[in-house]
């Protein structure tokens, strides 16, 4: 039969524009392996030690603060009536939110076939785990008796002699966070197996037998078999499909902690999607912060390209707008409700004693990301870095505003107050950054920070797109490219 229309012809520059190269510089598979493995196999750079020393000291400060709190009591924190739930939950929500980008990049972008994710998902997932670890510190320490943490789980025990109240959103949180932490860890580890096997083989070739043995155990004897890949890919797809609603559920459930209450400013139905968007927003900002430093320090500009910055900044802009939409909706409905308490809380939020926090939040989260409408700013490393810090600050203040400003002037004016953090609050929070960075630096040192097998798979897939070259060193087969 005759062709009724001719397809547009794709030349090389057009192909680049439609599907930009994931890896710059026409690398072969081997060159990618070398570049990524060199980071974990080569000598440790002096800067790594400096960074580690600083992070670890800050981490030790956190340990000291937590120890002091443990022996003295939670009274060393600044929260008190009426703001009985302040700094700790702010930081908890902040860190949990940061974690969301990892799962989003690995799972949601996987389902959306965004191949560019392959060079950043490993680091982002690691970040998720570390952020969840930082977040978990707060509720566990706020119990005052962390050794009783198992009371939060339905473990039959004689010292408690009763069951948990599963109708409480705080119990939902326990399940959401622990499921999220463990599923993310498994997802991350599963993605790691082929790369650990690659490292194992390289160690064996280099004659480092102890290293090869340890890596051999952790890679579970992976042998890159097609029969294994079939089950592996199905499992990976399932984990991605499962993690997508999971990541939505986690921050939704965190938002239920607030929204199931009757406190004006907390009880509003848009909270679940609003919290999720905010989490993605802050998480992407944190990924940007870390990746910009990592790619600069490790010379990964050809794998984490300006296209990545561009895409990530687009997501930051989009989620920033969603967060802005939620702020606007909340304000509008507070007025529309004609409920005097709702109206008061939102007026007080913007113009009351915490006006400065609100102004900071709006300018960091909604106004400043607007510069990302300009493409040259989206791909500018310095601008991106500064913006990512802005967003992190803005999102921390968002949680602070929601929590402190809704509580500090409650229904009874006689008990109005103003929350101020204690030095223990502040030092613990700074310390969590040390904890986070310590873990992240260890990750960079011992684990390939770029998912090798995924990047190579994406390179192979891209070679089949119209107008693209085959991967260097391989022979293309023309007949049956499509079937």
């Amino acid at each position: 039969m005759a062709t009724t229309a001719t397809l547009p012809q794709i030349n090389k520059p057009l192909a680049q524009e439609l599907n930009p190269s994931l890896v710059e510089g026409n690398l072969s598979y081997h060159e990618v392996t070398e570049q990524v493995c060199e980071i974990v196999e080569g000598a440790v750079h002096r800067n790594w030690y400096i960074g580690f020393a600083i992070s670890f000291s800050i981490f030790l400060m956190m340990v000291g603060m937590l120890g002091y709190q443990l022996f003295t009591g939670v009274g060393v924190w600044g929260n008190n009536a009426p703001v009985a739930w302040a700094w700790d939950i702010t930081n908890f929500v902040f860190w949990i939110g940061i974690g969301h980008a990892g799962t989003l990049i690995s799972a949601v972008l996987f389902l959306f076939r965004q191949k560019w994710r392959t060079s950043i998902n490993r680091a982002a997932e690691a970040m998720t785990l570390f952020a969840v670890a930082c977040a978990a510190i707060y509720p566990v320490m706020h119990t005052g008796r962390p050794w009783r943490t198992y009371w939060l789980f339905p473990v039959p025990n004689l010292d408690l002699n009763m069951w948990q109240n599963f109708r409480s959103p705080l119990m939902w949180d326990v399940f959401a966070i622990s499921t999220y932490g463990s599923v993310s860890a498994v997802f991350w580890y599963m993605g790691l197996i082929p790369d650990l096997a690659t490292l194992r083989d390289r160690a064996a070739v280099a004659g480092k037998h102890t290293r090869a043995m340890i890596l051999g155990v952790f890679s579970l004897g992976w042998r890159f078999s097609a029969r294994h890949w079939t089950n592996y890919e199905k499992m990976y797809l399932l984990l991605a499909a499962i993690s997508t609603p999971l990541v939505l559920s986690v921050h939704s459930i965190v938002s239920f902690d607030f929204a199931t209450s009757v406190i004006p400013g907390w009880h509003t139905t848009i909270f679940p999607p609003y919290f999720v968007a905010g989490a993605v927003f802050s998480g992407f900002a944190m990924v940007q912060t870390l990746l910009l430093v990592t790619r600069w320090a490790l010379g990964l500009e050809n794998l984490i390209t300006s296209k990545h910055l561009d895409n990530m900044n687009k997501i930051i802009l989009a989620t920033g707008m969603i967060v802005g939409y939620a702020y606007a909706t909340e304000f509008f409905i507070a007025w529309y409700s004609a409920n005097q308490y709702e109206r008061f809380v939102f007026f007080n939020r913007a113009f009351g004693p915490y006006w400065w926090a609100y102004a900071l939040m709006v300018s960091c989260n909604v106004l400043s990301p607007q510069i990302f409408w300009v493409k040259s700013l989206r791909t500018n490393v310095i601008v991106t870095f500064i913006m990512s810090i802005f967003v992190n600050i803005g999102m921390w203040f968002e949680r602070f505003v929601i929590i402190a400003s809704s509580l500090h002037r409650d229904f009874m004016p006689s008990s109005w107050g103003y929350f101020q953090p204690s030095y223990v609050d502040i030092c613990t929070f700074i310390g969590t950054f040390g904890f986070f960075m310590t873990l992240f630096l260890l990750f960079l040192r011992f684990i390939p920070c770029i998912a090798l097998s995924e990047v190579k798979g994406a390179m192979a897939a891209q070679a089949h797109l119209p107008g693209h070259e085959p991967v260097k060193g391989t022979t293309p087969v023309h007949a049956g490219g499509h079937h």
Binding site: R167, N231, A460
Partner: protein, 188 residues
């Protein structure tokens, strides 16, 4: 020197199969199709990343991971609902905040989380079980260049246990697919 040789002393016990090496995913895929069309069943290919279309090229059945995992997800949901109903309404009935002792509304979040937890863990467990992993010792680890499959090598294996296997004829078939090299893999 085989890569995993430190796990067990290698004692050659005859031929395990024939292995051919290719320079990329496309050539490997074509070779797999040729071998499948020639009627071989006990075959396997090795590549640094999963190759799109390989299941079809090797004639592999669809993975069972998903179908079995769904059973576990229902189990997770049931456990969660039973747990919340029994502890709240039977084991330790206590009215909090005027809420009923058991209702579906506040039970959904935990039900969802346990469903997800069991589906995720069972998918991983099933993947490992169906793949027979962890397994640290395997004849293919002894093949030459096999320690570079994780880097940039693409290999095709036809096992001796295949009824159609014949060292000369099979080697000829593999040679016809233009491999970079072919070799005999020994049993261990």
């Amino acid at each position: 020197m085989g890569l995993m040789s430190f796990f067990a002393p290698r004692v050659p016990k005859g031929v395990y199969g024939l292995m051919a090496e290719y320079d990329g995913p496309d050539t490997l895929l074509e070779a797999c199709k040729a071998v499948r069309d020639a009627g071989y069943k006990k075959t396997d290919s090795f590549s640094p990343f999963p190759i799109h279309g390989m299941e079809e090229a090797l004639g592999l059945p669809e993975s069972k991971v998903g179908k079995i995992a769904i059973l576990f997800s229902f189990t997770g949901a049931s456990i969660a609902l039973l747990m919340q109903w029994w502890t709240g309404a039977e084991g330790y009935p206590l009215i909090v905040g005027g809420k009923p002792l058991f209702a579906f509304e506040p039970s959904i979040p935990i039900t969802f989380e346990l469903t997800v937890l069991l589906s995720a863990f069972s998918s991983v467990a099933l993947m490992l079980a169906l793949n027979g992993l962890p397994r640290f010792n395997h004849p293919v680890f002894g093949a030459k260049n096999f320690d570079r499959v994780g880097d940039d090598r693409f290999m095709l294996l036809i096992e001796k246990s295949d009824p159609k296997f014949d060292e000369t004829a099979t080697r000829q078939l593999l040679e016809a697919t233009h491999p970079k090299s072919t070799q005999v893999v020994e049993s261990n």
